[in-house]
Amino acid sequence: MGGLEELLGGFAAALTPINLLWALVGVTLGTAVGVLPGIGPALTVALLLPLTFKLDATSALIMFGGIYYGGMYGGSTTSILLNTPGESASIISALEGNKMARAGRGAAALATAAIGSFVAGTIATVGLSFVAPYMVRIALSFGPPEYFALMVVAFTTVAAVLGRSMLRGLVGLALGVTIGLVGIDVQTGQSRLTLGVPQLLDGLDVVVVVVGLFAVSEALSVLALGERRETVTPVRGSRLLSRPDLRRSWPAWLRGTALGFPIGALPAGGAEIPTFLSYAAEKRLTKHPEEFGHGAIEGVAGPEAANNAAAAGVLVPLLALGLPTSATAAVILAAFQNYGLQPGPLLFTSQSALVWTLIASLYIGNVMLLVLNLPLVGVWVRLLLIPPYYLYAGILVFATLGTFAVGGSATDLVVLYVIGALGFLLRRADVPVAPAVVGLILGPLAEEQLRRSLAISQGEPGILVSSPLAVVLYVVAAAALLLPVLTRIAAANKATRAARVG
């Protein structure tokens, strides 16, 4: 039972009053910012990152875990009560959730989302506690070639899964990797792509890139579309689940968790897939098919659980392998790097106490969120009613503040604006921005592993495919690239055949 003892030690460290306070601050801030329309989990984490700069590593990471889970919770409230859904993962819960709210069942929708998130988050955190040490044990035998192969898998799956086409996913990814090249090459001290600007020698900070891609470009896109008004559906009724609601919700929570955690825990992109799968599964299994599309509670319970379970699952490859597979995970990895910590199997052995305190605080944060969320719904609704002009003005003030806090110069603001303009172009061209964030963080790590491999083999490229595991991983990566193309061709054939028959 590896891990249980360390986990208990983690609880002992996390349950001190001061650390409980940081966890509480984290979940509250995370939820409050996550509730704000237009702010997804990645931006929530990036905007709040500068707040943790003055804390020691343990407190900062505890607060960070709270922010991460809180941001996920906040997003679901928004998607249920506001009629325009925000980021991709919560679009699904908005489908049924907003319909439920409009049918006067908003309280039940919020309750099933909150309790479902708690159930899924807790089960998935238990999963994390047991799977991560196991993955660490396997990962300790990995050499640079295996790591590089793993990263190739992460690259291809992230590009394949997000966005409307593989090509556009790859474009986002390649741009992120390019941005990641800026700065001094760690191994040789050569400056790359700095265009003679001394401030660029340190490279581009992930906070600046995320804030530019998600906040500035989002604001620009909203402006360019012209004015549109949003409405908030009022919440009425009891905040508790009725017995029939509960009976319909709990199997959906468990199914959502069962889909979300394993897929999230894979060292490959695709934390968004489980929510879609869960929605499809609930739609097929429901005894009330007539309610789907008009506010079926299973359609909120399942995807919300899947979303949160996947969020915890993503921490498995992040902590055990140092592999970020979502934009939010990339920001969290950057937060670790701020403290000179590199997540991965070595962190589990060298900083074991820190890692387990973080994991323990995730359990605690989850309980806090459940306690906070049910009674505080009224406060979150009030946040949703902030006029958009104050909201975006505030977002921009905090976006520039965060940039200034991590960079400390006006040059960083210029970088922020340029990245914001780039993000606007990406959105206009339907290129997903999340792969760019993953590419920015993963690119330098992949390069390091590639160069390490070739240094070991004295430049002989055969080392990359020298182990069976690496070969298998490359096959998986190739499949991720080819499968969508093949299924599309198959679907097109089917469509033309159907058209001919019809």
Binding site: L82, L170, T188, V222, P387, Y389, Y392, A393, L401, R488
Partner: protein, 196 residues
């Protein structure tokens, strides 16, 4: 500003436009690829580097960019025919579409007064960009509080604020709170009035 007015000012927003953005992006990818190649050619590998030098990975990325650029251009010119349709994010009931919800009337976000600025996307984006630029320029001269208050006012106007004075006051209060919270509470240096 009611929803029909807002809707009428963006005619053809849903009509399939020529994918100019993808073409521009395709051009940018090619330019970046070339810049990367030129930059890589100026990187010298220090003596005794085993395996890959510092220029190899940038070259590989450059090649990828130079392949993706033309592919994206082709996709844009073919009207994105190889792509799946964008999933309908607006599947839900739109704002003000007359659907009466059982939970009572929906609460409109914001107030019903007309916005200070005309609802013209170009004007609004212009004001937004102006506010961002002013913020950078003011940081070094007017200090953080002035710069942030101006940014807040400009962005709020761009997003359809209805009262100039109220936006200015809210922005100033927020800037002051942030300034003192960060400099005293978190010990983070923000430029004060002289820009230092």
């Amino acid at each position: 500003m009611s929803a029909p007015v807002g809707g009428a000012t963006v005619p053809g927003a849903r009509v399939r436009r020529v994918d100019v953005a993808s073409l521009v992006l395709a051009g940018l990818l090619v330019v970046l690829g070339v810049v990367l190649l030129v930059d890589a050619s100026s990187i010298t590998s220090p003596l005794g580097t085993t395996g890959l030098g510092p220029a190899v990975f940038p070259r590989a990325v450059a090649v990828i960019l130079l392949v993706l650029g033309p592919l994206l251009a082709v996709s844009a010119l073919r009207g994105g025919g190889d792509d799946e349709p964008v999933p309908a994010a607006d599947a839900g009931a739109g704002p003000g579409d007359g659907v009466e919800s059982a939970a009572g009337p929906d609460v409109l976000v914001g107030d019903a007064r007309p916005a200070v600025l005309r609802d013209d996307p170009r004007l609004r984006v212009g004001v937004f960009v102006l506010a961002l630029v002013a913020h950078v320029l003011l940081l070094g001269t007017g200090g953080y509080v002035v710069a942030a208050a101006v940014l807040f006012l400009g962005v709020s106007l761009a997003f359809g604020a209805t009262r100039v004075l109220r936006s200015a006051v809210v922005g100033l209060v927020l800037a002051l709170v942030i300034f003192y919270a960060f400099t005293i509470g978190l010990g983070l240096g923000l430029p004060d009035l002289g820009g230092r």
